[in-house]
């Protein structure tokens, strides 16, 4: 088939594209000794000047982790990870914490500039305080493992919003951290979450007080930098009664030959009438065309809709990483609470993605929507794995799930593994899944109207993903659309 050959040709062309964000910033790191032991855990805790209870919690997690086995149920293949052959702590050396962006290592700022994240510009942009016409973004930049720049803190403080590195929250708001951390993802939850609990280095902490609508999008740009450093982020977002926050997470990582482990934990909590919108664009280094290098991304993301009428919405665009193992989930405890999961996962070359969601309906009239779009090209494997569980008391619960897969080329795979468990008769659960390729008719239609084959593919794929992309905040939508284009440039079906 000519079309297939052509596709293969073009996918190869895409393959040869060098990772745009592949560079390495040379900043001196303050690094923990290689390997993982109780000493490593103590080292991290000491570096962070953590209280005793947190160290105990970490050690409890570490000891539990030793008894656990690495999960192997995902449709993923990778060489065994040597947990002793990695550094678990590395912090950019800063004599004193920077008081303003000017004090931040210029090298670091240059890194952000290369990534197209003009921090300074944003600072200026946000200087429009009060005007509120243009949407602004607050960035809690995570460079390697320690947050070195937190912007617009003041702006937020006025509203009573806490947005800071989690290590800072441990110092300044221990009662909140103690109360909520591990309450959604317990330290014993799963292999990777437990590892994270033991050695997490930093991440963001957000607390939105009662009735406050966060005036700007909160954002953390993650970056894996120091060689061989696994990143163990821990993010905790609490939306108190009637509050609202939109949180953006975006990631790029420098090109690297050794696989890097990333095991983050994100916990979201919404109280009555509160809402959290969590958006991710993940573009870590996926490895080269032979699957060499690339990030191993084993993430545990979970939100608990504790209060009535609360809502948690996950939107993710996953284009990077060699391995993606990620299931952002919602526990719908409060009556009338709503969970959403919108996902685009694009895999190319030898990338493997096993991603999806869990919607656990506990409260009455809880609703969930799942829209997953998987695009697989090259020799990639793309799996949707999801669970919808309706518990006996979830009267009137409602779920709608749509999983679509698009295959580009005949060497890739697309898989759908949904689990649907209903124990309440008044609940309505609907699941649909389709698999198809870009049809020759669609291509012909576009090209006949003068679009180049590349534009046609981009158009069709963006159309395929539209339902998800439209859920992204404006700031991200542009980047995401570009990413979709870049990932599949030239791959005409």
């Amino acid at each position: 088939m000519a079309a297939t050959l052509e596709t293969a040709e073009q996918v190869r062309a895409v393959t040869e594209q060098k990772y745009k964000y592949g560079f390495f910033t040379d900043i001196e790191s303050d690094t923990a000794p290689k390997g993982l032991s109780e000493d490593t855990v103590r080292f991290i805790s000491a570096r962070k000047e953590e209280p005793e209870w947190l160290l105990e919690w970490r050690l409890k997690a570490y000891r539990h982790w030793l008894t656990m086995e690495e999960p192997n149920w995902g449709k993923l293949g990778y060489p065994p990870i040597d947990y002793q052959d990695a550094y678990y702590y590395s912090a950019p050396k800063v004599a004193n914490k920077p008081k303003s962006l000017d004090e931040v290592d210029p090298e670091l700022l240059r890194t952000y500039a290369k990534l197209g994240i003009p921090l300074k510009e944003q600072a200026i942009l946000a200087g429009v305080e009060g005007a509120g016409d243009s949407p602004s973004i607050a960035v809690d930049a995570v460079f390697d493992s320690v947050s070195v720049a937190t912007t617009f803190k003041k702006n937020l403080e006025e509203k009573g919003i806490i947005f800071c590195p989690i290590s800072e929250a441990v110092q300044n708001h221990p009662e909140l951290v103690k109360k909520y951390m591990g309450s959604v993802v317990p330290y014993s939850d799963n292999y990777f979450a437990t590892l994270n609990s033991a050695v997490f280095t930093d991440g963001s902490f957000v607390y939105i007080p009662k009735g406050v609508r966060c005036p700007m999008e909160l954002s953390t740009y993650f970056r894996i930098n120091a060689k061989n450093t696994g990143q163990f982020e821990r993010t905790l977002i609490i939306a108190d009664e009637g509050s609202y926050v939109s949180y953006l997470e975006g990631c790029t990582a420098p090109q690297r030959d050794e696989n890097q482990l990333h095991a983050a934990v994100v916990e979201l909590i919404t109280h009555d009438d509160a809402q959290i919108k969590y958006s991710t664009v993940q573009n870590w280094y996926p490895g080269d065309e032979n699957g060499k290098g690339g990030i191993y991304n084993f993430v545990t993301k979970r939100g608990a809709c504790r209060g009535k009428n609360s809502k948690i919405s996950w939107t993710q665009v996953e284009t990077g990483s060699a391995i993606t193992w990620k299931y952002p989930s919602c526990i719908l405890q409060g009556d009338n609470s709503v969970g959403e999961f919108y996902s685009v996962a694009i895999t190319n070359n030898r990338q493997q993605a096993d991603t999806g969601t869990k919607m656990i309906h506990i409260g009455k009239n809880t609703k969930s929507t799942i829209v997953s779009k998987g695009i697989s090209a090259g020799k990639a494997q793309n799996t949707y794995r999801g669970l919808v569980k309706i518990l006996p008391k979830a009267d009137g619960a409602r779920n709608f799930t749509q999983c679509d897969s698009l295959l580009i080329g005949d060497k890739c795979g697309a898989h759908t593994v949904p689990y649907i468990e209903s124990r309440n008769r008044s609940a309505r659960v609907e699941h649909e899944a389709t698999t198809a390729k870009i049809s020759e008719d669609q291509m012909f239609y576009c090209q006949q109207r003068g679009l180049s084959s590349e534009d046609a593919v981009s158009l069709i794929v963006n159309g395929f993903c539209k339902e998800v992309l439209k859920e992204l905040p404006m700031e991200f939508a542009v980047e995401a659309q570009k990413l979709v284009g870049i990932s599949l440039e030239g791959s005409v079906g």
Partner: protein
């Protein structure tokens, strides 16, 4: 959590009795002079020993708990039906209407009953006989095909059946031969007739050569009051262009355990359709695994299940598209009442070369009570790009608007509900292509509804 595979020399406690029984009866099973058969059985018990009874950690069994089965000490049913020889033909409910020519084989507790069966006249060359007889008359055919289709290490019941293989049905259709009338096989489990719980392991082997055609109707029912374990395996080999219709109704006693494994190897342009109506059994599972091994195969799997009380019914299908240009279609619908639980696991695999595959799957469940449960896992595993595959799954209760519509027209609640349930199931039952069978199945659904509370 990680799946742990424990390999030990000592089999699990629940497994040991089966090994003991095997050791005791193996030498006295029919066909003892055939060395290949002895080897096959030995291999079967070895496989069973290796697998044991899978727990919830084993993905294929995550929703079906085998503990209730493991707890009962079953003994092999006595050869020749034993005391159950008392079953008289007049009591036999049949699927096919009386008075029409048919080919009927009756088994009581897994043993063929010549006196109750009437094989009738067959086209020249066609063979329909009991496996016990075939071991004498068609040993070559059996040696070539028995235990060859879809043998895996992920189904202990298939292995267990092979280990105790003694009787069953053999159908052989030479090239171009069509058996017009359905071949009806009746399996009766008597449970309580003998004092101890018994188990039987019937095997059906269908070898359909090129362009042959037949309809197989299985009727499983329970009589008596005790528990028993019916462990069925059906192997189907369909040659080029062969057409097989395979329909089954399972009305075992609600104390019975019913495990059925169907494997099929379908050659170019073959067509195979399978329908299972599940009504009985305390714990039942239908595992249907066709491999579409040539181009142009058409495979249709469908079924309806109606469970109540403490019943647990499991439908597991794996359609393996190994070759291009094949079509598969699945329609399963179920009604769950009481504290019953239904499981549906449907997997469609499209192999790398199976371009132009068209696969469709639907599973819909109606929950009629507050304690009913449905667990559904429709799964797509696709390695080819030029394919069209979809699946849909729903769970819910009867639509209030529809009920209101009917009741506003003067139909009482019970009739309205039954009407809607019958209509719901009809979508699946309509997949049955043979009129007489479809009508019989519809009648059974109506009968079932009448016995239910409103």
């Amino acid at each position: 959590m990680a799946k742990t595979v424990t390999i030990t020399d000592t089999p699990a406690p629940a497994v040991q009795p089966y090994l003991d029984h095997h050791g005791r009866v193996a030498s006295s099973l029919p066909g003892g002079d055939l060395s290949w058969l002895g080897n096959l059985r030995a291999e079967g018990i070895a496989r069973f020993r290796k697998q044991g009874f899978p727990g919830a950690r084993v993905e294929a069994w995550r929703y079906t708990n085998l503990r209730p089965l493991e707890k009962v000490a079953f003994e092999p049913a006595p050869a020749g039906g034993g005391p159950s020889a008392a079953v008289s033909v007049d009591l036999l409910p049949t699927v096919m209407p009386a008075g029409q020519p048919s080919h009927r084989l009756v088994f009581v507790d897994g043993a063929f009953r010549d006196d109750l069966s009437s094989i009738g006249t067959l086209p020249e060359g066609a063979v329909v006989t009991s496996l016990g007889h075939a071991l004498n008359s068609h040993a070559d055919l059996l040696e070539r095909h028995l235990g060859r289709v879809g043998v895996t290490d992920s189904n202990p019941f298939q292995a267990l059946n092979t280990a105790f293989l003694a009787d069953g049905v053999v159908v052989h259709l030479p090239k171009g031969v069509a058996v017009a009338e359905p071949i009806e096989v009746v399996f009766i489990g008597t449970g309580g007739v003998s004092e101890k719980p018994t188990m039987h392991h019937p095997r059906i082997l269908v070898v359909a050569e090129a362009n042959s055609e037949a309809t197989l109707v299985e009727h499983h029912l329970g009589q008596g009051v005790g528990t028993y374990f019916a462990n069925h395996v059906t192997e189907i080999v369909a040659g080029e262009g062969a057409r097989l219709h395979h329909y089954k109704v399972q009305r075992e006693s609600t104390l019975a355990f019913h495990m059925a494994t169907v494997t099929a190897d379908l050659a170019k342009d073959a067509s195979y359709d399978n329908f299972v109506l599940t009504m009985g059994g305390r714990l039942s599972r239908n595992e249907i695994k066709p491999v579409l091994n040539g181009t142009g195969v058409e495979c249709r799997l469908s079924g309806a299940y109606m469970v109540n009380g403490q019943q647990h019914c499991d439908t597991t299908t794996v359609i393996d598209h190994a070759q291009p240009h094949c079509t598969s279609r699945e329609v399963y619908k179920g009604v769950i009442d009481g504290t019953a639980k239904a499981v549906f696991q449907g997997k469609i695999i499209v192999r790398p070369d199976a371009q132009k595959t068209d696969g469709y799957q639907l599973n819909r469940a109606l929950l009629l009570s507050d304690t009913a449960e449905i667990d559904s896992k429709p799964e797509l595993e696709i390695y080819a790009d030029d394919v069209k595959c979809s699946h849909g799954a729903t769970a819910g209760e009867l639509d209030d608007d529809q009920l209101f519509y009917l009741r506003a027209r003067g139909i009482d609640l019970e009739s309205a509900r039954n009407l809607l349930i019958a209509a719901f199931l009809a979508d699946a039952i309509e997949e049955v292509r043979i009129d007489t069978v479809r009508e019989a199945f519809q009648g059974m659904v109506t009968g079932w509804l009448k016995t239910q509370r409103a």
